[in-house]
Symmetry: C2
Subunit: 329 residues, 2 copies
């Protein structure tokens, strides 16, 4: 197809977690006929995993509207279905690169096609960093007591008054360790060095907490247990000595990676970790007029499905108003 003849979309949404689908619901109801690039199904998401991180989540108790809780994939299925009820089009493809230097914007898609758009909402999410062990991933996916989100999962009954472990040494790990002491009998904080790299005050709060037990100079080499985690295999980073630690839960807190590698940081403002910057307080604008953002790819603070959904709504309303300002109907 001649590029000059490519039809111009009013609004393209990249990503299909709670942020992307909520943006689609609002954009579709505003008669903008959005197209959602939900991503190619894949095991190790480098760009966008269709449905986002909730597809790997078993029990979700904190998404308002589900009094008895809901399974992550079911929640995503419900929201997607809602977007489809209005006029949302879906492409099960990745957007590989974007050119925001000219209007309408140009998006290069993984099947080799090119799409032009007046307005783009980026909702590609972020992925938790994992240790990288087979049994870790198996138990994370099956709800076997391995998690990358203390706020999401810490309150589950299975963790109450049990010994838990957290892996990490940064501010987030300290915050999550403190958080877990609300529920756990004991929280082992496993770190590869003999000092946390968190800020002094955050580290001290953990060290002062009688429920927190630092496990220095250690890495997790395996996660034990069949259906549920029963313990960890540890290795001393100095002596090489192996040991086991009995725990009923493992929380991995070694950071997140926003799915923004397909963006050109010369074009759109990212922070030093790759999160998309939002220069307008409490709104969804990016550094590029006509490009809006929603969800975890712009949020290193909250990372909740409901905050992502709220941002999705904001991004679609901001986009609709911007398109109206431009006289694009």
């Amino acid at each position: 197809m001649n590029e000059q003849n490519t039809p111009i979309e009013k609004i393209v949404i990249i990503g299909s977690g709670p942020a992307g689908w909520t943006a689609a619901i609002y954009a579709a109801r505003a008669n903008l006929s959005p197209v959602v690039y939900e991503g190619i199904p894949k095991q190790n998401p480098s760009l966008v995993l269709p449905g986002g991180q909730l597809m790997l989540t078993t029990e979700v108790d904190n998404f308002p509207g589900y009094p008895e809780g809901v399974e992550g994939p079911q929640l995503m299925n419900d929201i997607k279905k809602q977007a489809l009820r209005f006029e949302t089009r879906i492409k099960s493809l990745d957007v590989d690169t974007c050119d925001f230097t000219q209007r309408p914007f140009t998006l290069n898609v993984s099947d080799g096609s090119v799409v032009k758009a007046h307005c783009v909402i980026i909702a590609t999410g972020a992925t938790a960093n994992w240790i990288g062990l087979d049994n870790e991933m198996r138990l994370a996916r099956s709800g076997g007591g391995v998690s990358a989100c203390a706020v999401c999962d810490g309150a589950l009954p299975v963790f109450r008054d049990q010994p838990l472990a957290i892996v990490g040494g940064g501010d987030s790990a300290m915050e999550e360790a403190s958080y877990l002491t609300k529920f756990a009998s004991k929280v082992y904080v496993i770190h590869r060095r003999d000092e946390f790299r968190a800020s002094k005050i955050m580290a001290q709060r953990v060290l002062d907490n009688p429920k927190c037990v630092p496990v220095w100079n250690s890495v997790v080499t395996d996660v034990l247990g069949e259906d549920k985690i029963s313990g960890l295999q540890l290795k001393d980073t100095k002596t090489g000595e192996e040991s086991t630690l009995d725990v009923k839960g493992l929380f991995v807190a070694i950071g997140h990676t926003p799915a923004t590698k397909f963006l050109d940081p010369e074009q759109i403002l990212l922070d030093d970790k790759g999160y998309i910057q939002m220069p307008v307080p409490h709104q969804s604008m990016t550094s590029i007029e006509g490009v809006f953002v929603a969800g975890d790819c712009a949020d290193s603070l909250y990372r909740q499905a409901i905050t992502a959904a709220g941002m999705g709504c904001k991004s679609a309303i901001d986009a609709e108003r911007w398109l109206a300002d431009q006289g694009i109907h």
Copy 2:
């Protein structure tokens, strides 16, 4: 009770719309044992209406998680039930005044009691301003085609390709009038003067839109129709002449009033319309450390249930982190 012996709550949430209940879900799951002042049931809310504005809403199609839509009161019931499933306490009382000048904070409650709190989340919402006609309110409550939210209700099938009316002359009214032209056959914009007070560019966009018909110097004196609106009774503000206008929908866009009159503007920063200011971009802090805000009482831009819920989550996470920083467990 001697005030010195009043127990100190870790966290008090004022308000019980999507923002308040979502804050409660997150605070309760963080083991903070929140107490929610949901408000005294009342007809014309001056402070807090239990359940918030959705209690007056019939069909909600845009709250993610309900693919087939949900009635407003059912949605609120679901979210409240979810908060109660964890350890949320409810008081069906108003908070009449707050003293944020000393810590812990002091809240004076409508039954004459006093509550002390380390941390407060304000989620009291806002109310749409109505014309004040009996038939207007009756048809708004029954889903008879009268609404104060074009983004929420404009896309409903009943309004498609129908003549609609909007009342108002400000920027929001212009924005909503433009929005409604996506669906309506015609949008009458009824204004009491012969010029909109909106910004010139917003007003011009409406005047240039072939679907928009300004109705100058006019006020609505009655809303006609039994189960569904069939028309409006109008009165010319200059001649006093009465006329009728056939429409299938009425959108009232004469502003909102945030439910913040119980707050002392000498203590907490409000904007000129009474909305609570949020000085930290993308977070829920107010001008007072330890007081957080969520929902429409701080939001004049989006006013959606899902954005309020997202803010409720943020406020609870911010509050939890602040309490941990203070060493309050």
